[in-house]
Symmetry: C2
Subunit: 140 residues, 2 copies
Amino acid sequence: MTSGDSVTALVDAVVRNTFQVTGVLTRIGAENDLSLTQLRVLGILRDRRPRVTELAGFLGLDKSTLSGLIDRAERRGLLAREKSPDDGRVVEVFLTPAGRDLAQRLYEEVHRALAPALERLDPEQRTQLAALLEPLVGPG
Amino acid sequence: MTSGDSVTALVDAVVRNTFQVTGVLTRIGAENDLSLTQLRVLGILRDRRPRVTELAGFLGLDKSTLSGLIDRAERRGLLAREKSPDDGRVVEVFLTPAGRDLAQRLYEEVHRALAPALERLDPEQRTQLAALLEPLVGPG
DNA sequence: TATTGTTATACTCTATAACTATA
DNA sequence: TATAGTTATAGAGTATAACAATA
């Protein structure tokens, strides 16, 4: 029960932290006319060139949702589609140079927004926190 | 620079954790026909009876957005409106018994979903993590 | 006049079902 | 037949601007 309570308090803290960070990401997206999902798409494409279905998988969304999402971002010149040479059914998605620039700027903005709070921790605490978050990010 | 890198790694971990947890919350909401925002509304109303503008403030949304959000939840019998006796312009929002039951069930489901990962930490680590998250949740 | 909330409008996000093209 | 992606459709989420009621 004692152990149960410590987990409960921690769940609460994790959820509050999640909404807090989501708020920051949403604000930064909005300032650049991007939804949270579009922000995330740019982040994912920074180091990947997935097919549509893969991208949907990363986001946990239906592939039909991606068609519209990609359409709108493509219309803005942020990303592009290309048919796979190996399989005529497959469409690959990737950042344009403009999209890459924006993704980089957004990344820096997110860093600037979150760093002050994290810098209040001393280096040892930062290492600890990163280590403690790892298992949560890892496998289920 | 060394210190800068440790912050960078931590920002990345925090953002990844945020999307991970958001995924869990979104799934639990969807299984109960609730958007992430509706889920959050139920959570907020568990221990508050805010006016519409206050609720919008908690969520970081425009008050006009809340009109529709409240309409739909009210139509489902999850919450209700009441005019303030003190100020005829003000509308207070609160959970119905059915809404409170659902909110409680959702809270337990979120706990069940997140607890296993957190239970992999020993009690001392849990206390540490909660303490380390606190400054992030706290004031800017 | 200022504030609270709603409505009208427009656009984005999202899923389901039906479709086309390719394998 | 099965898979990849798009389109059609419908509903929810969101903000801006205009509005009504109250202070």
